[in-house]
Amino acid sequence: MAVLVLLAPVVAALLLVVVRPGALAAAISVAAALVVLAGGVALGVTTHGGRVVHALGGLVRVDALSAVMVIVIGTVATLATAAMGHALGPTPDAPSRRLARQYGALVQVFVAAMLGAVLAANLGVVWVMVEATTIATTFLVGHARTRPAIEASWKYVVLCSVGIALAFLGLVLLYFASAHAGAGPSAATLDWASLRSLAVHLDPRVTRLGVALVILGFGTKVGLAPLQSWLPDAHSQAPAPVSALMSGVLLTVALYAIVRVKAIADVALGVGFVRALLLTLGLLSLGVAAVMMIAQRDLKRLLAYSSIEHMGLLALAVAAGSPLAVSAALLHVVGHGLAKSALFLGAGEVHHAESSTRIADIGALLRRRPALGGVLGAGLAALAGFPPFSLFASELAMFRAEVDAGLAWAVALALLALVVVVTALVRAARQLLLGPGEPAADQAPARALAPMVAALAASAVLGVVAWPLASLLHAAAGVVG
């Protein structure tokens, strides 16, 4: 099953290189994403009782945590590819047929690399896959070939490669520590399950250095401050479906790597070390996001900074580290993936209809484009953490778990940042949605709005009844808690 999940986007990428852009290519894209989603659900059913699946001679290892990530990747990929549909033919998004082909295939490669990262048993392979996502998405970020798009993709590839190089150095140090953990040099390993069982014997001084580098390095890809400067540029310049994938799920794939390393570090160093590191990065990210959001004039950049805010919240929950905190964080990962992809796709429609994403240029959407405006409004409410959307439930649960872990002071600071963030979102929503106007002639087609409505509906359902996921999230938290 795990192999099938990995193969689907790889096969789709190969097909999309040969198939003419058009309806068939669009169908292949969506079908591959649906296979990933279905495979993720099947893996979730298999692993939620605590079973671990191995495949490909031990290279692949799937537990409940990996299964949750596969489900999130499959969900956001389905939404993004469904929205890409019409972009697979020559459109303003992809002016030439060659570019359209490249676009469709690279999105699949990107999805495959993310799946590789969450399914790999070896932290070195996780690193290779996360760096592969950077390579696949560089062209996607620069897809528009405009000056700002090229600038964004340059910053993206250089800053992310440089940042994540730190993580590789950190992994080398962990590997070195494992070679001297008492079981002889032949026991040297980067397999995270083995590292975890060796963890009590790891030399603390070397491990501390290695873990700090790994967290800073992967933190760059998560978009945690102070290494976040690439994120707003890349996420705002990429085509909407790519932004949805990058913001909705790539960031949390990098966070997944941090969670795995933390499980090792907590045994080797005690919980204090990684907790202090993640609290610092998380609170810093919340602060940066709040300041940048309140002054933000561009819708896509506003959404990008909101991703930094949500990653900050997740870092705090991972820092707390209790099973309750981790399962709440995973629910937040799912909810953020749904809401943020809906909004980025919505911003894409806004850009398409209004030729601008400057908030001041757009107004009265509820009157002029009621359907699009309604979806956008609901999405912004979800992002701000209003009920019934699941981000409300998960934020509440994360804060409760953090207070239980003795981090009430951090919760207080986070709430302060959230007040600013919610103010910024409400202000943006008022400017975008309200005001007088006449219905426009070119309303967004239902086909374009359907993925967004589906995502927000799923988020609302999960906010009320988490039962479809509850036992899986619980099992996933148990894996690392």
Partner: protein
């Protein structure tokens, strides 16, 4: 063999760092690419000697891979980019040469301090050299942040990568082969991607000076 091997590793490891530091005072972009090739050779030598000494087939493969990719393909690819604008020189770097050499010296000292626990955990001749790898990484960062030409920044990125590889060979005789293969492939692809990106930049904007890249801000 052991004496000769030790001597060769010492020499090659020092050469990797020396080349990185030399990069700080060369402004000619093509000279930087030449230095990168030299660093690739030195790095391959470290891996080859360590492979022969440890009778380690995986590391031998890695050494060959390093030679082909880091001393061969990557410098050739970058050299082609550099040749397209002949005489391309770094303008005044953000920090002048003497100052950046002083900073490099401080970074080497920092690497020695940071590297101390590594030698303490496994006191051998080769782990004693590990700070050279860390110092190369830090020098690469310095090169990257003080240069404004796109190609010089790429060289900085690759120096960082070479520093990490040197650390790997000195500490653990390389990481598992699958990780090494994947990592090398990533480096190669990053260079290919960057080359294509620079090509687009030149075609669209007529140059690859990064000072022009300042449209995106809040």
């Amino acid at each position: 063999m052991s004496g000769l091997g030790d001597g060769l590793i010492d020499l090659a490891a020092v050469a990797v760092l020396a080349v990185a530091v030399a990069g700080l005072w060369r402004r000619d972009v093509r000279a930087l690419v030449g230095l990168l090739r030299l660093q690739g050779w030195a790095l391959a030598l470290v891996a080859a000697v360590a492979a022969v000494r440890g009778r380690d087939v995986g590391l031998g493969v890695t050494a060959a891979l390093v030679l082909v990719v880091k001393a061969g393909v990557v410098p050739v690819l970058l050299g082609r980019v550099a040749r397209r604008d002949p005489g391309a020189r770094e303008g005044a770097p953000l920090i002048n040469v003497p100052a950046s050499l002083v900073i490099a010296a401080a970074l080497v000292a920092l690497a020695v301090v940071v590297g101390a626990p590594l030698h303490a955990l496994d006191p051998t001749a080769s782990t004693a050299l590990a700070p050279l790898g860390l110092a190369t990484v830090l020098t690469g960062y310095l090169l990257l942040v003080t240069r404004r030409r796109a190609l010089s920044q790429v060289v900085g990125l690759l120096v960082i990568d070479n520093g990490i590889a040197l650390t790997t060979f000195l500490l653990t005789s390389g990481v598992p082969l699958i990780v090494e293969l994947g990592g090398t492939l990533d480096v190669l692809l990053v260079v290919v991607v960057i080359r294509a990106l620079l090509g687009t930049m030149r075609a669209r904007f007529g140059g690859i000076d990064l000072d022009g890249l300042s449209e995106l801000r809040d």
